[in-house]
């Protein structure tokens, strides 16, 4: 670039890369390029750290709190944060910090479990049935059409009313509503891979359909699937919370992030007179937002890492 022009921030960044390249610093490491880009993405690193920290806190909850999340202490109702209860207590005198940690377990299990379950079902079907095609494939496409034609929230509410409220049921419901998306995504990827020559060659060698689908097609679809799993984990955690507002989530007495926050909404209407007791819902809301944010950072980082046009 000519000296007459002023250097922009991008120019300075490029200068740095050039200097590093010329001094031979780059390229000596043989690490995976995707991994390298992921670690150079600040948001993704923050995401991973936050994710690990929150998971540690929640699953190692007994190490970080001495209280039982369900234990009432009617003498200490609605007490403000203090040394005794670092996040205060709720209307029944339960320790909020302990409830956030134990509740996080349920919320994370619901979110992650549902996303993994939906992915397992959708990807398996998408790979095998998508590859085989035929009657089964057109049937599944019709079924997923039906699932996607009923608005998701409505579908969830109806199924919850049908099978009842519990954590396990909620996971099953989320898997039921989540698989069509995964199925369609995998299927469309498989359909385009199917046309490629390596698949034709495998078939010509007489490799079995199952083996082609799961050994050769699966690795090629894994990238978008992993991104989708992270993003749907975030989505399911948010949905769990929304269902709590409507009174259709995990039963109220079990601590989950959604249930803790929804003390303030009392199943729909905001309890304006409780707004002064901010500690009963706000810390948990922040925890939930941070966790969802961390997952989104990771998912976004993963997506960018596989995109070569991005400066990492």
């Amino acid at each position: 670039m000519s000296n007459k022009m002023k250097k922009t921030a991008l120019d300075r960044k490029l200068d740095k890369i050039r200097a590093a390249e010329e001094s031979g610093k780059l390229g000596t490491k043989l690490t995976n390029r995707t991994l390298r880009k992921l670690t150079s993405n600040k948001l993704a690193v923050i995401g991973v750290l936050l994710f690990v920290a929150i998971c540690l806190l929640c699953f190692g909850a007994p190490l970080f709190t001495k209280y039982d999340p369900m234990a009432f202490d009617l003498r200490a109702k609605m007490s403000a944060p203090s040394l005794e209860h670092i996040m205060g207590t709720d209307q029944m005198g339960r320790d909020i910090w302990s409830r956030i940690l134990y509740g996080g377990r349920i919320s994370i299990i619901v979110g992650l479990g549902s996303a993994l379950g939906a992915a397992l079902l959708g990807v398996t079907l998408g790979l095998y049935v998508g590859y085989k095609g035929g009657l089964m494939d057109s049937l599944l496409i019709k079924i997923s059409d039906i699932f996607q034609s009923v608005p998701q929230m409505v579908l969830i509410i109806i199924i919850v009313a049908l099978v009842g409220q519990s954590m396990e049921n909620l996971i099953i419901i989320f898997i039921l509503t989540g698989w069509p998306g995964m199925y369609r995504m995998t299927r469309s990827k498989v359909l385009s891979l199917k046309q490629q020559e390596f698949v034709q060659a495998l078939r010509a060698f007489g490799i079995s359909d199952v083996k082609i689908a799961f050994k050769h097609l699966l690795p090629n679809t894994l990238g978008p699937v992993v991104v989708n799993i992270t993003l749907s984990t975030a989505m399911f955690i948010l949905q769990e919370a929304s269902l709590s507002v409507l009174g259709y989530g995990v039963p109220m007495e079990i601590a989950t992030w959604g249930n803790i926050i929804n003390v303030i909404t009392n199943g729909g209407t905001i309890r304006f007179d409780w707004l002064q007791y901010w500690w009963i819902w706000l810390p948990c809301a922040i925890m939930l937002i941070l966790f969802v944010l961390s997952i989104n950072f990771i998912g976004d980082g993963l997506r960018d890492a596989s995109d070569p046009t991005q400066i990492g």
Binding site: S2, D11, E21, E22, L26, P308, T309, I311, G312
Partner: protein, 341 residues
């Protein structure tokens, strides 16, 4: 270049262009010099990834965002005698934009993607006219666009004018790209592998078209190709590129009869010659193109070269003049030239 010729319309000197993707610095162009002359076709030939297209895009300043012209100059000589340093203009600034299309036009490799799918072909040609020839009426623009299409040998141009690119065949699309490129009668036409995506008969028609343009309008053409057959057919001058350098540059007769760089010789030996019968011996070039991030220290062709010496491993050979207008980057070019005869 040694002499300043009145026919030179564009002169590139010691151009360096680096790409910065994936947190790495890829030195794509490492000191390239050549001239483009009025009424002549310069063919830039080389294997994929050697920097041919990047050179063309640098001239029009159409490089992607994560890349820079680091050193060197690109000078455009206007008809009125003024010189414009293209490398110093603002990338998408007013001056550069005025030159694009009006003075220098480009045709891309893939006519399938180079036309915008949502506008009619006619509208896309008109867009060029409206940008550079202001003050015409609507009907005049339309007539001009139809005439441009007709000039390129497109049948029923008045109907084709209102059709979308996907309704065109590949050859027709490339013709309309050329029609668009030529609509403002540019002084220089850059053609980036214009026929790679087309079949042989269509390619031949496109080449005829371009040769006519050169004769009628005295346009300077820079044609990028990886096909030595195209070079033989089209070129007045040839630049052979390898890994970001021009390794040999000169008039086509000299390059074909008197190749002085081992890479040029190898290229010529690796293509069949029509009429030599089916028993001719074709020699592929041994080895493979090096990784751009693990380049040889000296001459880039050194690991694959039969004439390599110790000096070649450590030093990049300078541009040495064989005869007037013919240079080569090789320490041993005399020996090479001898053996090539």
């Amino acid at each position: 270049m040694a002499e300043k010729n009145n026919d030179v319309v564009l002169s590139v000197k010691d151009l360096h262009v680096y790409f910065y993707t994936n947190q790495r610095c890829n030195k794509v162009i490492r000191g390239v010099s050549f001239d483009i002359k009025r009424g002549r076709t310069l063919c830039v030939v080389g294997e994929s990834g050697c920097g041919k297209s990047v050179t063309a895009n640098s001239i029009l300043r159409l490089l992607p965002e994560l890349s820079r012209i680091e050193e060197g100059s690109i000078t455009y000589y206007k008809e009125d005698g003024t010189e414009v340093r293209l490398d110093q203009l603002e990338k998408n600034g007013k001056q550069m934009r005025k030159l694009r299309g009006e003075d220098i036009a480009i045709i891309f490799q893939d006519p399938m993607t180079a036309l915008n799918p949502v506008y009619t072909v006619g509208k896309q040609i008109e867009e060029m006219l409206k940008e550079h020839k202001k003050g015409m009426t609507k009907a005049q623009y339309k007539d001009a666009a139809i005439e441009d299409l007709a000039d390129m040998g497109i049948p029923a141009p008045d109907i084709r004018y209102g059709e979308y690119p996907h309704q065109f065949s590949g050859g027709m699309r490339q013709r309309s790209m050329i029609a668009m490129g030529m609509s403002c009668e540019p002084k220089i036409l850059l053609a980036d592998e214009p026929t790679t995506a087309l079949d042989v008969t269509i390619s031949a028609q496109i080449f005829d078209l371009m040769n006519n343009l050169k004769k009628e309008h005295n346009t300077a053409i820079m044609m990028i190709t990886h096909n030595m057959g195209v070079v033989a057919e089209m070129a007045d001058d040839v630049a052979v590129m390898y890994m970001g350098n021009i390794v040999e540059y000169g008039p086509v007769e000299k390059i074909f009869t008197n190749p002085s760089h081992p890479y040029t010789q190898a290229l010529l030996r690796s293509i069949p010659v029509l009429g030599k019968g089916k028993n001719q011996q074709l020699e592929p070039i041994r080895g493979s193109t090096p990784d751009p991030f693990k380049r040889p220290k000296g001459c880039q062709f050194c690991p694959r070269c039969d004439y390599a010496c110790e000096r070649c491993q450590n030093e990049m050979p300078p541009e040495e003049w064989v005869t007037e207008g013919h240079y080569v980057r090789c320490f041993n070019y005399k020996e090479v030239t001898e053996s090539g005869k």
